[in-house]
Amino acid sequence: MRRQPQSSPHPLRGATPGPLYPVGGTGAGETILPVDNSVGVWTAREIAERVPDPELPVLSLADLGVLRDVRTGPDGRVLVTITPTYSGCPALDEMRADLRTRLAEAGYPDVEVRTVLHPPWTTDWISDAGRRKLAEHGIAPPNRIGPRPAGPVPLNLSPPPARVPCPRCGSPRTTELSRFSATACKALRRCEDCREPFEHMKEL
C-alpha cells in the first residue's frame, strides 16, 4: 500500500513536527493553504481540525470525526474535546500530543485536551471529505450504517456481503481476507478483478 512519508507509526518518528497539512492529504478542488505558523493567522479550531490522525494520516482529526469541540477562552486558553475510536486505540495519546504540539506552534501554548466517551464514535462520524480521501489513498471507506437498533446485536455467521468496491479499479467483486488488518479499525480485502489486496475501514 502506498503510504505517506510521515505515516509510519514508528517509535523513532521524526522529532521535527511535519507541515500543517498532511502531505498529499488534500484532494482535488481543495485549497492548499501555505504553511504559516505565525501567531494569530489561524483560529485554534482551524489548527485542531487539520491535525492528521496518527494512524490514518490521510485524514485529519476533523475528517475522522473524533474532534468534538474546540473552544478558545478569553485568556487564550484552548479546550479541545476528542473521543476515542476504539476503547484500546493507542493513537489517542498521540492525538493529544499532536494537538498540543500543533496548537503551540501556532501560538496557542495553553491547551487542554479532554476525552469524552458519549456519544460513542462510529464510522458514520467520518466526513464525506474523509471518505473521499480514504478511497484516494487505497483504503475502501466504511459504508454508512445509520442509527443502530436497540437490543441484542444480531449474530453474523459469515463474512459481511461484498458491498465494498475495490478502491483501485472500482470492481464490486472483492473478498474479505481478514476481519482484522494492520489496525483494529481496518479489515483486509482482495479485489477479484485486479487481484490487488486493499484495506477496508470497517463499519463500527
Partner: protein, 299 residues
C-alpha cells in the same frame, strides 16, 4: 530523522514524539464526567468495576500470548487486535475502579500491584487455552466465543446503567465485542466444517470450556446489590440470551453442546470472590514481573 543517536529518540526529553505502549499514558478517563451517584456504595461500585475490568485484562493477557504464534499471520493480527480492544476496556474500568475507591490507586497500581486473591475475574478468562500446554487454537476460539457472547450481552444491558461512566464504557464495548463474537463464531464454523481432525479438536475444545460456563451466570452479592439499583447487570438474567446465541452457532456448525459437569466448587467461592485456578499465578507472574522487579520504572 533529526537525531544523531537512536537512543536520543527514545529518551524522556523527546517524550511528546513517542509512539509508546507502556507507562506514561494519560489517565484514560482523564476528563470524562466522573460523577458518582450519591446513593451508590463506593466500595461496591469499585469492586464491580474491578470485576469487569479484570475479565478484560486477564483475557487480553491470554490472547497476547498468541502474538507470533497463531496459525496464520492474519489470525495473529486478529487476536492481537481483540486483545487490544479488551485492554482498552480494562484500562477504563480499572481507572474508574481506582477513582471510585478513592485510595489513590491508578490503573497501573491495580493491574500490576494486586495479588491473586484481589483479582475478581471469572475463572474462564485465566485458563491456559493455548498456545501453552493447556489448549490449542480451537480451545482459544471456544473460550472467545463463550466470553465475547456473554460480555456482549452484559455490556448491551449495561448501556442502561445509571452510572454514567459504566454506561459510556459499555456503549463503546458493545461495538467491539460484536466483532470479537462474530470472529470466534466464524472460526467455530470453519474448524467444525473443516477436516475430521479439525472437527475433533473443536469438539474437544468445547468440552474443555463448557464446565466454566455456570460461573458466568452466578451472581455475586455485589452484582446483586448494584443490579437492584440499576447500576450493574445481574448475570443470571443473561443466560437465556447467551444460550440462544451459542446455540445458533453450534447448530450452524452441527456441533452438540457438551454435557460436561462444572468443577466442584472451592468452598463455594468463585473468581468473583478472588478464588482462582492454578493457571492464575503464572499468568500474573508474567503480567506483573517487570513492574514489580523495577518499582516505578517507565518504559
Amino acid at each position: 530523522m533529526s537525531f544523531d543517536n537512536a537512543y536520543e529518540a527514545i529518551s524522556e526529553s523527546n517524550d511528546e514524539q513517542h509512539w509508546a505502549f507502556g507507562t506514561g499514558f494519560d489517565d484514560p478517563l482523564s476528563d470524562v464526567d466522573k460523577t458518582i451517584l450519591s446513593d451508590v456504595d463506593r466500595a461496591d461500585l469499585a469492586t464491580y468495576c474491578l470485576m469487569l475490568g479484570d475479565d478484560a485484562l486477564i483475557l487480553s493477557q491470554r490472547l497476547a500470548e498468541w502474538c507470533s504464534r497463531a496459525p496464520e499471520l492474519e489470525e495473529d493480527v486478529a487476536l492481537a487486535n481483540i486483545a487490544l480492544d479488551l485492554l482498552g476496556q480494562a484500562r477504563m474500568l480499572l481507572t474508574r475502579a481506582g477513582e471510585v475507591e478513592g485510595a489513590g490507586r491508578d490503573e497501573d497500581a491495580l493491574a500490576y500491584l494486586r495479588d491473586e486473591p484481589d483479582f475478581r475475574n471469572v475463572r474462564l478468562v485465566e485458563l491456559d487455552c493455548g498456545p501453552g500446554p493447556g489448549g490449542d487454537f480451537a480451545t482459544t476460539i471456544a473460550r472467545l466465543l463463550v466470553f465475547a457472547t456473554w460480555r456482549l450481552a452484559l455490556m448491551t444491558h449495561l448501556t442502561n446503567s445509571r452510572d454514567p461512566v459504566l454506561s459510556a464504557i459499555a456503549a463503546k464495548a458493545v461495538k467491539e465485542l460484536a466483532y470479537h463474537r462474530d470472529h470466534a463464531a466464524q472460526w467455530t464454523l470453519r474448524l467444525a466444517g473443516g477436516t475430521d481432525y479439525s472437527r475433533e479438536r473443536m469438539t474437544v475444545a468445547l468440552a474443555t470450556i463448557w464446565p466454566h460456563l455456570p460461573e458466568l451466570f452466578t451472581p455475586h452479592p455485589t452484582e446483586l446489590r448494584l443490579a437492584a439499583m440499576d447500576i450493574a447487570v445481574n448475570p443470571a438474567t443473561l443466560k437465556s440470551e447467551v444460550d440462544s446465541v451459542i446455540g445458533q452457532v453450534l447448530t450452524a456448525a452441527a456441533l452438540d453442546p457438551p454435557a460436561t459437569p462444572p468443577p466442584a466448587p472451592v468452598t463455594n467461592r468463585t473468581g468473583r470472590d478472588g478464588a482462582h485456578t492454578e493457571a492464575m499465578p503464572p499468568l500474573l507472574a508474567e503480567l506483573q514481573h517487570l513492574a514489580r522487579s523495577l518499582p516505578g520504572a517507565t518504559w
